[in-house]
């Protein structure tokens, strides 16, 4: 091993902490960027080397996807309108799931017997494949918006219930004692102690459920095609018409939606709880 003297060039393996800010930022961005470039190269490879020109529509090259999918005005408008609708469906479903899930968790937290009565069904809800229920929603609620939102609610509900309940139960016994000693009733205890203590866990659930509700909205699109099209409907349509550039463009957009939603809730969570709770802090350190 070579001994490094102070002042000599630092080896590249030094912990990132010892580097200046922008170099550290660069260190964080370069590896994933490289992977991105490699993936693009692979994509081109598949399009031009693996596929013969007449089969190239199966994997159109990236620039064709961008040109046809995003540069064409009408196409872009169609895509964005559909994406907007899917986002609304996902957020509506998520909102209902949060309100219902948190209320259920608070209700279960009020008494052991309520928890014991309801929780098994929450678990069953999680284990039955929601997809198997989806046709049933259409049967009951029609093949439009209501059913699409309902898919999101059902798919996003469990993480909210489980995490809220876990959070409410995470309060230290001594903190409960303190509130008992000073005559705090149920409502005060909930408002001033249990809910704030549960916030980090609730945000964890929210982040998981946000991703799930995007999946739910796209799945809902596939099944419930009445009304304005969501991005899932477009994906199915492009597939049927063999419009592969548009198909790829739509798939990429819906993935981005999932990423953005996940990131947004992560950001909000960090803003709200990281002041006092380690779960909200950036795992890479301050």
């Amino acid at each position: 091993m070579r001994v490094e003297l102070p002042g000599t060039d630092r080896p590249a393996t030094l912990p990132p902490r010892s580097r200046s800010g922008w170099r550290r930022g660069l260190g964080l961005w370069i590896p994933p960027l490289l992977v991105f470039v490699v993936m693009l190269a692979l994509w081109y490879g598949v399009s031009y080397l693996l596929l013969s020109p007449e089969r190239r529509f199966l994997v159109p090259p990236p620039h064709a996807v961008v040109q046809v999918g995003y540069m064409d005005h009408d196409n872009l408008v169609e895509l964005l309108a559909a994406l907007g609708l899917t986002t609304r469906v996902a957020l509506t479903g998520l909102g209902i799931a949060v309100a219902a899930g948190a209320s259920l968790a608070i209700l279960m937290h009020q008494a052991r017997w309520i928890e014991r009565s309801i929780y098994p069904y929450a678990v069953i809800l999680q284990t039955i494949p929601i997809l198997a229920l989806v046709p049933l929603f259409g049967f009951w609620f029609g093949f439009g918006m209501v059913s699409r939102v309902l898919v999101c609610v059902l798919i996003a509900l469990f993480p909210i219930i489980a995490n809220t309940l876990f959070g409410l139960q995470s309060v230290e016994p001594s903190q409960h004692d303190l509130f008992t000693l000073h005559g705090a009733g149920r409502l005060r205890r909930l408002w001033k102690l249990e809910l704030p203590a549960a916030l980090p866990a609730i945000f964890t659930g929210l982040r998981i459920s946000a991703g799930l509700s995007v999946i739910g909205a796209i799945v809902g699109d596939f099944f419930f095609k009445q009304g304005d099209p969501g991005i899932g409907i477009l994906i199915d349509l492009y597939r049927a018409r063999l419009q592969s550039e548009q198909l790829f463009a739509a798939v990429i957009l819906s993935s981005l939606l999932g990423v953005v939603v996940f990131w947004c809730f992560g950001y909000v969570s960090r803003r709200v709880v990281s002041r006092w709770h380690e779960s909200g802090r950036d795992p890479r350190g301050p």
Partner: protein
């Protein structure tokens, strides 16, 4: 050292009507464990009584009964005041509240008006020397500072009886001694009645007017030791011969009990 009153003798009578008077208090838990067995205890205003004993001797149960968190299964536990301050083993601060908001919590729960809460919190924070940290969050403070915030929080309601459940047990020796000194400062200033629980003999002797030694499973009183030193007590008291003498006697009784 004749000043040390050795038990067995009836519980020492304080100078005034006791704030806390336990007679033959017992506690048996649902699983059959006997935590306390016929415990007599008296704490009068201006008295600082400390209970020492091994872990699991029901010391904390005594405090829980005194505060009403737990009900005794036998005997008569009498507490003549509702103004009780309870200091827990951990600081039990709410991590999302600033130091000031934490100190205001009890006033908030008791429904004091905002201005009054504010004033009491400010006064208590000044008393424990943390006024300049009022806007900090608990996680930014050291363990000792958090414990002082916890003390300040209890002080806001001006308790007549203070219950301490090994409050300094998790701190290092230096911090613990400093907090002992500060606590005695508060005791001298406010003269509340105190019931303090610890397993540190020197902490017990340094703080108290009376040290009660307990055995474990079942928790029984093994002996009582009057501590004659005048308040205010200087930190150097810990290294004097009379102090060592009493500490030795308390330790010996503890050892007999656990043998």
């Amino acid at each position: 050292m004749t000043a040390v009153a050795r038990s067995p003798s009836p519980a020492g009578f304080g100078p005034a009507e006791p704030v806390l008077a336990f007679e033959g208090v017992s506690k048996r838990f649902a699983d059959g464990t006997v935590a306390l067995d016929g415990v007599d205890l008296r704490v009068a205003p201006g008295e600082f009584v400390t209970v020492v004993g091994p872990s699991g001797c029901g010391k904390s149960t005594l405090l829980r009964i005194a505060s009403g968190l737990e009900v005794a299964s036998g005997g008569t536990p009498r507490v003549s005041t509702a103004k009780i301050g309870y200091v827990f083993q951990d600081a039990t601060l709410l991590p999302w509240r600033s130091v000031r908001a934490n100190v205001e919590l009890l006033g908030e729960l008791e429904g004091l008006p905002r201005v009054e809460r504010r004033r009491l919190a400010q006064e208590a924070l000044e008393l424990v020397g943390l006024a300049e940290f009022a806007r900090h969050l608990p996680h930014a403070l050291s363990g000792g500072m958090r414990m002082r915030v916890s003390l300040a929080r209890s002080l806001t309601l001006r308790p007549e009886l203070f219950l301490f459940d090994e409050p300094f047990g998790a701190l290092d020796e230096m911090t613990r001694q400093r907090l002992n000194d500060e606590l005695l400062g508060l005791f001298v200033a406010r003269r509340f009645a105190s019931l303090f629980v610890t397993h540190s003999v020197s902490e017990a002797v340094f703080l108290s007017t009376q040290v009660v030694v307990m055995s474990s499973r079942p928790g029984r009183v093994l002996g009582r030791f009057e501590v004659p030193f005048e308040y205010p007590r200087a930190p150097e008291l810990r290294y004097t011969e009379p102090f060592a003498h009493i500490s030795g006697a308390v330790s010996a009784r503890l050892r007999e009990g656990s043998a």
